[in-house]
């Protein structure tokens, strides 16, 4: 598929991908220098670097579709919270290591299936980006899956923390699979993935692993929604205030 220049739906979908990766990477970067031990500090940072790298690529693709000349940095640093399109789960504070790990695991499994599907996108630049990202997120998943198990099947404290993280995070996950009319249209055009299919396989795999880890799903809670439409939690504003500070305080500068 060519001639996407005037495709606001695709532009906006690419922003969803980019914003999701950037907010994940930004949160994970907060661990750098503060990890539970040195080896893990280095490993967490690698994942963060991968995610910010993915964001950079998706922003570039989005920028290419923009009607005015614009850069990846403009998109990352000069949009306000209501213009961000990530699901709320990725903007949540980093929490403890159990919380970070479980959140990462949810996103990693999602990313593996998402990029797998996107690697056959009819929009070639997206397919290429997805193929590259896929290699990395497969590794992320291997790591986080092992850690979820390691924490859940070890000490009482680690298990309690993991269980609490699951209670706190579970109802943020449905939002990962939300679509809107524009996305449904892109799906019909063969540009993006089938989110219903991803949802099914995600639930099969994640629930099986959680069961293996002897963790219990919560029965009810507030089901997060709104990120896709720019309706976010309170956390995103603080994250952007910090992240965008220099660009906002010194507009129009080179860095």
């Amino acid at each position: 598929m060519t001639g996407q220049f005037n495709n606001p739906a695709l532009h906006s979908y690419l922003l969803r991908l980019a914003d999701t990766s950037l907010t994940m990477g930004q949160r994970l970067a907060e661990w750098c220098g503060h990890g539970p031990y040195l080896e893990e500090d280095v490993a967490l940072t690698n994942v963060s670097l991968d995610l910010i790298g993915h964001a950079n690529i998706f922003y570039q693709l989005a920028a290419e579709l923009h009607e005015h000349p614009i850069t990846a940095d403009d998109l990352a640093f000069l949009r306000d919270a209501h213009e961000y399109r990530n699901p709320i789960i990725t903007e949540l504070p980093k929490g403890d290591f159990a919380y970070t790990t479980l959140k990462q695991y949810f996103i990693d499994v999602f990313n593996v299936h998402l990029y797998q599907a996107l690697s056959t996108s009819s929009y070639e630049p997206l397919a290429l980006a997805a193929k590259k990202a896929l290699m990395e997120v497969k590794y992320h998943r291997k790591r986080s899956e092992a850690w979820v198990e390691r924490l859940s099947l070890s000490t009482e404290e680690a298990k309690t923390r993991s269980q609490k993280a699951l209670f706190d995070l579970w109802f943020y996950t449905p939002e990962l699979f939300e679509t809107d009319a524009a996305m449904d249209e892109l799906f019909v055009q063969g540009v993006i993935a089938d989110y219903t299919e991803i949802k099914t396989i995600w639930h099969q795999q994640v629930e099986a692993h959680l069961q293996h880890c002897q963790l219990t799903l919560p029965e009810s809670g507030w089901v997060a929604t709104g990120g896709l439409q720019g309706e976010h939690s309170e956390h995103l504003g603080y994250m952007l205030a910090e992240m965008q500070f220099l660009q906002r305080a010194y507009p129009g500068c080179e860095w």
Binding site: P36, N56, D73, S154, Q247
Partner: protein, 324 residues
């Protein structure tokens, strides 16, 4: 480690022929390897020097880590993140090398967190602006490289090998810092001011990184003889100044030393006096950020305790399951 039985930690005389053979080996530029015989003082000096070096890398993550979440562009964010990550990696490489001398990572960590061990005083200064990322890369990493390149030939094999790896990886650190400074120096007035202020803050502490003046340096002579130090503190400091002054001039920034000038006779830059009282105070724990830096490491270690314990317990449970 059985070879430790030979070394003498109890203050007894070490056999003269072993000492002579040891020194001869070093003089032949042969490397000492972990289980080779070595004088107790050599082992102790290495443990002290290497662990200080490793601690500096670890604490050195913090002043820059400060700006990862606020880096002004995606590229800068990734570069800074990769650089701070390298520092963790470098700390890890040197801890690894130190462990071959018969100390454990836990012992080394305890010494850092209890405040017993020293680390480079430079990391006890604040990084209030983005330009500090530039100044640190350019000056602090620049100074570190001056110190580290000769260490690639240190007589202790594991130390030398870790330094080879580190120097290779660090080659981008100084450049990215200088590049940040270049962009700022050529940017808006506010950016240029930012760069100048960062240079003002970093210059003197960077010069102190080379350690006390040769006449006050306590460990130098023996370390030179053992080839775990190749140049004196003052020699390296001078080399650093000579290399850096033209770089500052190129940026149009002013080094905060009114006495700095090229001496046509020596071909080196003469510089004003270094405030060694400040150096001693910061080393003693009375620098602007000593408490915060150490506390950040203590917090990370304490908050990570349950994670490390969980990992160990998980492994034991798995092992039991396999046996059963």
């Amino acid at each position: 480690m059985y070879s430790q039985g030979l070394t003498d930690a109890k203050g007894q005389q070490e056999p003269a022929e072993l000492l002579a053979a040891f020194q001869a080996k070093i003089d032949r530029e042969e490397k000492i390897e972990p289980r080779d015989w070595m004088p107790d003082a050599y082992r102790k000096t290495l443990i002290r020097q290497m662990s200080q070096h490793a601690h500096s890398e670890i604490v050195g993550q913090l002043p820059e880590g400060n700006w990862i979440t606020r880096a002004p562009t995606l590229n800068r964010k990734m570069i800074l993140l990769a650089k701070v990550q390298d520092e963790a990696g470098h700390g890890l490489y040197i801890y690894s090398a130190t462990e071959t001398l018969g100390v454990t990572r836990d012992q080394l960590t305890d010494e850092l967190l209890s405040g017993k061990a020293k680390y480079s005083s430079i990391f006890n200064y604040p990084t209030p602006s983005w330009a500090d990322m530039g100044a640190i890369g350019w000056l602090v990493d620049g100074a570190a490289i001056m110190n580290q390149v000769p260490l690639c030939r240190a007589s202790y094999g594991p130390y030398a090998r870790s330094m080879v790896r580190i120097c290779k990886e660090e080659s981008f650190h100084q450049r990215q810092g200088y590049e940040i400074m270049t962009v700022l120096a050529r940017g808006s007035k506010a950016q240029k001011d930012m760069a100048q202020r960062a240079l003002n803050r970093t210059w003197w502490p960077a010069l102190m990184m080379f350690g006390p003046s040769d006449k006050d340096s306590t460990h130098s002579a023996q370390s030179m003889k053992w080839k775990i130090k190749r140049f004196s503190n003052d020699e390296l400091r001078q080399k650093f100044i000579d290399a850096t002054v033209p770089q500052a001039e190129h940026l149009g920034l002013t080094i905060p030393d009114p006495e700095l000038k090229l001496n046509p006779e020596t071909g080196h830059y003469d510089h004003g006096p270094i405030d060694w009282d400040e150096f001693i105070q910061v080393l003693k724990g009375n620098g602007p950020c000593n408490k915060e830096r150490l506390q950040a490491r203590i917090d990370a270690h304490d908050k990570g305790a349950w994670v490390r314990e969980a990992a160990n317990v998980y492994q034991q449970k798995q092992q039991k399951r396999e046996v059963a």
